[in-house]
């Protein structure tokens, strides 16, 4: 069991405050959806947790089992068990999907040498084991074999990029997965496959934070909690029924209720 606790998180981008105090706790086994209109700070939340250099944490903490992730470099956050499925994944020309996955797995399996030299001790996954794991996951996610020899995200369609994010998520076996608008830009068939991929990850050992603009994906992925993010704050929290309410009434309804309450 593990806990991801976001406490009073304030984040700015180029001097402009975007997140204004986020508090959220995700336990392993739980799936949380964060919904919000464009510009509410959804992607900022995910990129700040992962450590994008453009996103400046002004205040607050993100604790994974009590360890503040914000004090760790990006790669250490990943190795600690956090995975971010990007809304806009980067292309890495010249690096095949297979080699990318294999070298990433091996980088994650390395650990500091016991002699304290600062060198990393390798613990590479044997190639047959890697091949077997990859074949299993590709079957699960209905990914074509030709995928693995192509360069990472290079010339990929929107749907292919999202599938590769989900494939990586399954290969790396994270403790917490953050999915940043993984549903955007997908047709209904691709959405189903991606959503099934997310559902397949669910287990008592994994916590999920699903960030989305639309309620659509929540027909296939069933969160335990739904949070509404507006203007950099979580303004409402509820169960799955909250998503349906948002779908019918829209975000303006929440925003109006919020500011009416304040006035």
């Amino acid at each position: 069991m593990a806990d991801l606790a976001i406490r009073d998180l304030h984040v700015s981008v180029e001097g402009k405050p975007i997140l204004n105090g986020i508090d959220l706790a995700v336990r392993s086994g739980e799936a949380h959806a964060i919904m919000g209109p464009n510009g509410s700070g959804k992607s900022t939340l995910s990129l700040a947790i992962m450590g994008h250099p453009k996103y400046k944490v002004e205040r607050g903490a993100v604790l994974l089992d009590g360890i503040d992730l914000l004090k760790l470099p990006v790669d250490a956050r990943a190795r600690a068990g956090v995975f971010l499925a990007f809304q806009y994944p980067s292309a890495i020309p010249g690096v095949s999907v297979a080699n990318f996955l294999r070298t990433a797995i091996n980088a994650r399996r390395a650990s500091p040498a016991p002699d304290g030299s600062g060198e990393m001790k390798k613990n590479d996954m044997p190639i047959p084991q890697f091949r077997k794991l990859l074949a299993e996951k590709m079957k699960l996610l209905q990914i074509d074999d030709s995928f693995i020899t192509r360069s990472v995200n290079d010339g990929f369609s929107g749907g292919e990029k999202k599938r590769l994010e989900i494939l990586q998520m399954h290969m790396f076996q994270p403790r917490f997965a953050i999915l940043d608008e993984t549903d955007s830009g997908l047709d209904i068939d691709a959405l189903k496959v991606v959503a099934e991929g997310i559902e397949a990850l669910r287990s008592p050992d994994v916590g999920i934070l699903l960030i989305t603009h639309y309620e659509r994906i929540l027909r296939y992925v069933h969160p335990d909690f739904v949070h509404v993010l507006v203007d950099g704050r979580i303004v409402r929290t509820g169960g799955p029924e909250l998503a349906a309410e948002l779908e019918s009434k829209g975000y303006e309804f929440v925003r109006e209720a919020l500011y009416a309450g304040r006035a």
Partner: protein
């Protein structure tokens, strides 16, 4: 009569005279015609041939502090060099041996090609010096018409420690409809300042297919002033790759001349440089004939204070028709102090052109790509290694032979790292 009387040597910082050249040849027991060719080359080693530094090709490469070791080396053979030929290639009459040996055994094949060390003016002096005083590490390849050499011919040329200059000639003659790959892996030992001038000439006969791969991994004190010339006959295909690894400085001239219809030329380059290395390449692609193609792609990964300069010219000849040509130079700057200066020049002397263009860039790694890779668990250094491997892959993928690929990767690995043993899973 020494050349010095006709052209005052004081203007040329390298000492090279008739007596030295004659003795060099006599000591090596060479036939008269070969000695004559050396002396003929010497005549072209004139003050006029020496770069003034004003030339476009030389403005960015200071020729100061020339190593002062002897130009004439008494080393006749590189230790350990092996000319390995498959039995079927031997049976088909392929010649692959040291240039001196070939001159003695096969004078009728060598003689026509040893005299014409012509080429673009930028390297005239160094070409002349190499042609006059070449010694250990010189090689000759001749592939008879129609013969396909399946295995790449590989030469590991390792010059032992010394301050002697490393002057060599490589002559490749691929006759009509033949196929051959030559890989030359050049390296040197010791830290003494010394000059290297590898002079490479490749004659690609009509319909022939040639791959030339030149890998340079010089020791730190080396000043490399090499020159390569490719001559392509009709319907031939030439591919060449120059890999600049190691720790030396290079100022290399490349010339490609298309001399017939339908010839295809692809010139590739990889530069993996660091410390205060300077790798300066000037190229000249002459595009002629009907429907010929000449494309160049140079990729540099530059670390520390390294600098890559690329001055490349394409000339689409007035007698050409419907040709295609391109020059692309991409530089990845991996340190704030690294620099690149890509300078493309196009001279299009006809309206009958299908395509002619250039692309040049120099820039740091993308922050987004680095972040993406790091979010997968690669530390910054590993992420950088991965991106550079991917960047180089575009050229590495051109090499069909796995052993040749591995050799190229081995050469650049000290600079770009070993994160990705590419090819294992593909």
């Amino acid at each position: 009569m020494p050349l010095a009387s006709a052209a005052p040597l004081t203007q040329i910082p390298l000492l090279l005279d008739r007596k030295t050249v004659e003795q060099h040849s006599l000591r090596r027991g060479e036939p008269d015609w070969l000695r004559e060719s050396r002396l003929h080359a010497l005549e072209r080693f004139t003050p006029e041939s020496w770069p003034s530094g004003e030339e476009e090709e030389w403005r960015r490469f200071p020729l100061s502090g020339l190593p002062t070791g002897p130009l004439a080396s008494t080393l006749d053979h590189l230790p350990g060099i092996q000319f390995k030929l498959e039995p079927d290639a031997i049976a088909a009459g392929v010649i692959f041996k040291g240039l001196t040996r070939a001159a003695l055994d096969n004078p009728q094949l060598v003689r026509p090609h040893i005299v014409n060390g012509d080429g673009i003016p930028s390297h005239a002096a160094f070409r002349a010096a190499a042609d006059a005083l070449w010694s250990a590490g010189s090689s000759f390849v001749h592939v008879p018409a129609g013969v396909v050499v399946r295995q790449p011919l590989v030469l590991e040329k390792i010059w032992p420690a010394s301050d002697d200059a490393m002057l060599s000639r490589t002559i490749v003659v691929a006759e009509r409809d033949s196929t051959v790959t030559l890989v030359e892996d050049l390296s040197s030992r010791g830290d003494a300042p010394r000059i290297a001038i590898p002079h490479v000439e490749v004659h690609v006969g009509a319909g022939a297919r040639v791959w030339y791969v030149g890998i340079r991994r010089w020791a730190p004190g080396v000043l490399d002033l090499g020159f390569q010339r490719y001559r392509s006959a009709r319907d031939s295909e030439l591919r060449s790759l120059n890999v600049f690894a190691g720790e030396g400085r290079s100022k290399v001239g490349l010339e490609s001349d298309i001399e017939g219809d339908g010839a295809i030329v692809k010139l590739f380059g990889l530069v993996a440089a660091g410390d205060s290395q300077r790798i300066d390449v000037n190229s000249f692609q002459s595009v002629d004939g009907r429907a010929s193609q000449s494309d160049l792609l140079y990729l540099s990964a530059l670390y520390d204070r390294a600098k890559a300069i690329f001055y490349g010219k394409i000339r689409v000849e007035p007698t050409s028709h419907a040709t295609g040509s391109y020059q692309e130079c991409r530089n990845m700057l991996l340190s704030d102090e690294a620099g690149a200066d890509p300078i493309p020049v196009l001279e299009i002397l006809t309206n009958d052109v299908v395509r002619c263009g250039h692309g040049a860039t120099a820039g740091a790694l993308s922050d987004e790509e680095l972040f993406y890779a790091m979010s997968r668990g690669f530390d910054r250094d590993e992420a950088q290694q991965l991106l550079v491997h991917g960047f180089f892959r575009r050229v590495i993928n051109e090499l069909a032979d796995e052993h040749v690929r591995q050799r190229v990767l081995n050469a650049v690995r000290p600079r770009i790292g070993n994160i990705a043993e590419m090819g294992v899973l593909e």
